[in-house]
Structures are given as structure tokens and as C-alpha cells.
């Protein structure tokens, strides 16, 4: 069965406004995406790793270094969303599939899923990949590996 037949084709809109300011640190993550890399951070003080990346550590550390995460992992959990919040509903077709990818070191990231040919399953092999949107912004999607 195709994605379209299953009724969940993700057309992630370029227009959904991220209300948080684009900081220099977040820009670094986006620049990584533009080069096809998923960048996480590691605290230089306590060694804890963060994905999504944090730019300061709860241990008080402010010296965080970037490292690249292997974009392959397993599907930790999922949801098929049929009823979206109003701000999202204006921009995105429903239903859409949301997945959480489990990378190594228990690092995880939530994103829309694409390329499914059946309902998502916890534990399935998946990978995450950047994709340029129509407006030139770059987003990322989880796909079956």
C-alpha cells in the first residue's frame, strides 16, 4: 500500500512558525542539517550527551562540544495524528505520522515520518534524513531504513 493510499502523506509546511528565536547555537544544528549531518552536543564538564542538542548543561557546564550522530536507529514510539492543533492544522494535512527515533546512547529525536508502506511499528529499523523544503528551509524526516 502506498503512503497516499494509506492516507498519511506528510506535506510539512514551510510556513509553520517556530516561535523560538534562531540563536547562533541552533543555527549550528541547522547548518549541520544542510550538510546532511545530525549534530548533538556533549558536555565538556560531565560528559553528558544531548539530542536535541542543549547549549548549556544542567550540571552548570557551558563548554559543550558538537558531535555527529549516526542517523540510523530504531523507532522508539509513534503516533498517527488525525486532529492537529489549529496553528498546525492550517499548514499540514492530517493524518500525519509522528515518530521518535532512538539513536545510539539513548539519544532520541521526534520528527514526522515519511515513506511508510504499513503502519509504524515500535522497534522497526529507521533512519532520519534532512530534506530541503520549498522555501529553502531545511527540515528532517524519519523514514524506514
Amino acid at each position: 500500500m502506498s503512503e497516499r493510499e494509506m492516507g498519511f502523506v506528510v506535506e510539512l509546511s514551510s510556513d509553520v512558525k517556530n516561535r523560538q528565536r534562531m540563536t547562533a547555537d541552533f543555527r549550528k544544528f541547522i547548518s549541520g542539517l544542510e550538510e546532511g549531518k545530525f549534530l548533538a552536543t556533549k558536555c565538556g564538564k560531565c560528559g553528558k550527551k544531548f539530542m536535541p542538542p542543549r547549549f548549556t548543561c544542567p550540571c552548570g557546564g557551558t563548554d559543550l562540544e558538537w558531535f555527529e550522530v549516526n542517523p540510523e536507529g530504531t523507532l522508539y514510539t509513534w503516533s498517527i495524528v488525525h486532529f492537529a492543533p489549529e496553528g498546525i492544522a492550517k499548514q499540514t494535512n492530517v493524518p500525519y505520522v509522528l515518530g521518535v527515533i532512538d539513536f545510539e546512547d539513548e539519544l532520541r529525536l521526534a520528527a514526522h515520518m515519511k515513506g511508510l508502506t504499513s503502519k509504524p511499528k515500535v522497534g522497526m529499523k529507521v533512519k532520519i534524513a534532512p530534506q530541503e523544503l520549498e522555501n529553502g528551509n531545511v527540515a528532517y524526516f524519519i523514514k524506514p531504513a
Binding site: 509553520v16 517556530n18 516561535r19 523560538q20 541552533f26 539530542m51 536535541p52 522508539y76 514510539t77 509513534w78 503516533s79 498517527i80 495524528v81 488525525h82 486532529f83 492537529a84 492543533p85 489549529e86 496553528g87 498546525i88 492544522a89 499540514t92 493524518p95 500525519y96 509522528l98 521518535v100 539513548e106 532520541r108 529525536l109 521526534a110 520528527a111 514526522h112 511499528k121 515500535v122 522497534g123
Partner: protein
Amino acid sequence: MAIPKVAIVGIGHSKYGKRGKVIQEDIEGEKATYPAVTIRELAHESYFPALEHAGITNDDVDSSVVGIAAEAFAGQGAGAALVADEVGIIGKPTMRVETACATGSTAIRTAWAQIASGQFDVVAAIGVETMTWLSSSYATELMSVAGDHRWEYIYGISFPTFYSLYAARKMAVDGLTREQLSTVPVKSHYYGYYNKNAQLRRQITIEDASGSVPIAEPLRLYDCCLISDGSATVIMASEEKAKEMSGEPLWLTGIGTSSDTFRVTDRPNLTNIEGNVRAGQVAYKQSGRTAKDIDVAYVHDCFSIAEIMAYEDLGFCERGKGGEWSAERGAYIDGPGIPTNVDGGLKSKGHPLGATGIGQVVDAYKQIYGTVEKQRQVPDVEVALTHNVGQHGQFVNVFILEP
């Protein structure tokens, strides 16, 4: 480690329901939508019954704490000042508290601290929310913006979606089934049907729940709680004042409170909510009680999966067995476990955010003093537990209540 003695001495509870909206021209002649009932009238509906129940007047109230989860729902800024003025607690300190869906219980926790510290003797905790004048999709939006904007909200993770991530994980890891999930709303509606204060008084079947429209799969419509208008008030007093009053005090013997990570992907597991566990442990330790001592419980069933996790997190059953426990009628009055949400819960009684945690305590008071509708009265209640969650564990309050 007993905590300072503070009592609930008066209770009030509006009917929860859908009061809806009115559309009329604003001063510029444009059509505008307004809540059909405002936080003013709603606050009256629970505050004055509570004051009367306590047998006191406004002169006796030293301070008020007002729970309103969102100004956008209230249609009013500085809501605490408005509510305090409206009910006549004027010239006394007031404040608004907000911890998302746990706002009501946080109002009680704050009032408790004001009394326990010796600052005040009598404090009113008033919770009120007007929600149904807004569309469901806008109400969903207002709740979804509490997710991390950078990493969660922009992907359309609504509140049903957060909890569906737990449900999908728990189904895969703990073997939770669709039918087990459905047993939760069936029970809520069974008891809510008898509760005069409940919003949706209708019995439902497992088939109704399992076959309802998908909202955020695996969760379906009947897994999700209601959007409601309502208010609830408790008048609280110091030990000395409570003993001077003629009524029946209900003592807060445990106040456990905790939190959890902001982002769902930072949680070590998604089969339980560790904030629930931590808050429960504190409340049990303070009161010297365990789950075995609880005669009636009110847990935060914003979604069926949330109630299943609460059974496990609060020790009503073994970890991973919440679905089975529910299916075995563990939460029914005539069942083998702990009667839970026999007021109908958030699912059938309703969930006016700022009032919810206070409404739980009001019903616990009535259960303990034997004054609820007889079909849902638990016999011989000596210890009650309430559990109120904001977001998906970012705020948790667990109270133990005893006469």
C-alpha cells in the same frame, strides 16, 4: 515525618459542563465570540457554597490563591485579582498560580504553604476555567503550545499526541491492549453517570470506546478527556482555626510534588511517568501510608493511558500490569483493588483545567464524609488520594487526605 497540620474546612463545586459561547457585536460593530459564562459567575458557583460549608464569612478569609491555567481561556488578564474582587475577598492578598493541568492542586499546595508557614490562618483555593467558548482545535492549540516550540510543537505534537507516544510504547513493551485501554473510559462513564456535577453523564461500552474516531493513534476519542467550563473551591485552615470551627475537617497528611523533563524525548522511558512515582513516594512517606491504605483515589485521567500509568506509578498494581489491573475491575468499587475516579474522572466529570485538582479534593471530602450519590459511594473511606498532572508529568501533585 509528619507535615504541619492544615485542614480542608469548606468545599464547593460547580457543575462541570459545556456553557459554550455567545457571538455578538463588539463596540466597533464586528462580530466577536465571548464565553457564555465568565470566570466571574463560575467562581461564585463554587466559592460561596464553600464559604457557607465552612460556616464563615469573607471577613474570616485571610488570603486567596486562584488557579487559572490560561489567560487565553479566561479571556482576562490578572484573573486572580478579578476573582478575588468578584467574590468579595477584597483588601486581602491574592495571587494566581499556573502549572498547566495541575493548576488546581497547585493552588491547594500554595494555600497549604501559606498556612503551614504561619503566614495566614484561613486561605481560599479557588480554581476556575472557561474553555468551551473556543473551538476544539483552538483549545488544542492553546494546550499544544506548552510543548517545546523548537523541537515538538512545530511537528504538530498536540497533547493527545504526547500521550499517544506513551500508549504506542506501552503497547509494544508491556503488552497493553486496545481493549484494556477502553476499560478506563467505560469505568469513568459508569460512575460519572451517577455524578450530578459531571459533564457527560452517559454510559458507554468497550465497543464504543475501541471503535471511536482516532484522534492521535493509538488513542481514540473516548481515550481523551473533555474540554470543560467549571470551578471548584476549598477553604483551608490552620489546626487551631479548624478546631474552632464547627464543621468536619479533612486533613492533608501528605503533599507530594514533583516534575519531569520538558521534552518527551529526554525521558528515559515512555511506559511510565517518573514524576508520578516521585510525587507519590513523598506523599506516602509524609503520611505514613502506602497504596494498600488508600480507600478511594482520584487520578489524572486526561487520557486513558495516563490513568493506566498512574495505577502503576502510584503503586496500585505492579509496574507493567496497569492494563490488566484495569481489565480485572481493579478500579471499581466492587472490584479487587482501589476504587479510582468514581466521580467520573476528567473523562466523564470533565476537565476545567484550573478547577480539576481542587474538584478532586472536593469529591474526596464528600466520599470521606459519605455524602456522594449512593451508587458511587465507597463504603468506610478513611484515606483518600488525589493525583493531578500538568502537561505529561512536568508538574505532579499527589495529596493524601484523612479525617
